[in-house]
Symmetry: C2
Subunit: 132 residues, 2 copies
DNA sequence: CTTGAACCTCTAGTTACTAGAGCAATTATG
DNA sequence: CATAATTGCTCTAGTAACTAGAGGTTCAAG
């Protein structure tokens, strides 16, 4: 049986975050001591590691909740979540790359004149090339 | 003079968002009608367009506030903000690309066996290659 | 048995908005 | 000019995923 601090040390998830996950119904303590402190089993440790890793992969808690409650033999649903997340990541990369291009242009636009053209470029959409 | 709705139509910023910006001190109405409705001048329109575009570029409101309050001749500060934001964007792109690689691996890991290995891969950090 | 670390609950703050309630003002139409 | 439709007002609360702090209790070591 692990205390919440022990669990935190083993998974790298901060103590208040574990309590937050419990509140969100993603994890449950196995029980409490007479003094009302949480005690977690090995199962809890594994569950939390799962959440931790999935969060590191950028999955929102809602998707994680679905994964947790899912039948492990349900291929379709887990593949769907993975594919949706991948598409989302790719979309975000594409958008950020467009911003990067734009920011490079803005950063290079200043010729050192009186008023800084970096500043005006931040506000002027006319100068933009790609659609953002 | 524009009503808040007119301003919204011309800039593409939603009405409640304009009020929110006002509350945050980023924009101010020129005054109010006798019936307490906001009226904005051309200046307000331009200010809001600036904010809109800077937000589209992904700048946080705090940076925008700094830009707005800045002397337009202050090259150093505007260049610094642009450079910091560019570095931030590049960092995010790099991290997302690492996630992309990982998710592709996870998506391809399933061989159709009893329990779906996409599901287990979400929880198992051991299988990961790059550091995330 | 005492002390200090770890634990408890609860509230509020973060970012950038969005949604809704309940009411007042403005504008368009008959 | 009266009425109806639209737009506006303020205020509160909700979103995601936590983090920080207050104020108090329990646990483990010596």
């Amino acid at each position: 049986m692990f205390s919440i601090g022990e669990l935190s040390r083993r998974t790298g998830v901060k103590v208040p975050t574990i309590r937050y996950y419990e509140q969100m119904g993603l994890i449950a303590a196995d029980g409490r001591t007479t003094g009302n402190q949480r005690r977690f089993s090995q199962d809890g440790l594994e569950r939390l590691s799962f959440i931790r890793h999935a969060r590191d992969l950028g999955l929102p808690l809602e998707s994680i909740r679905v994964l947790i409650e899912m039948d492990p033999q349900n291929h379709i649903e887990s593949h769907r979540i993975a594919a949706a997340h991948l598409a989302d990541i790719r979309d975000r990369i594409a958008r950020l790359q467009r911003l990067e291009t734009e920011l490079v242009r803005i950063s290079e636009s200043c010729d050192g004149g009186e008023d800084c053209s970096v500043l005006t470029a931040f506000g002027d959409h006319e100068q933009c090339s790609g659609g953002h």
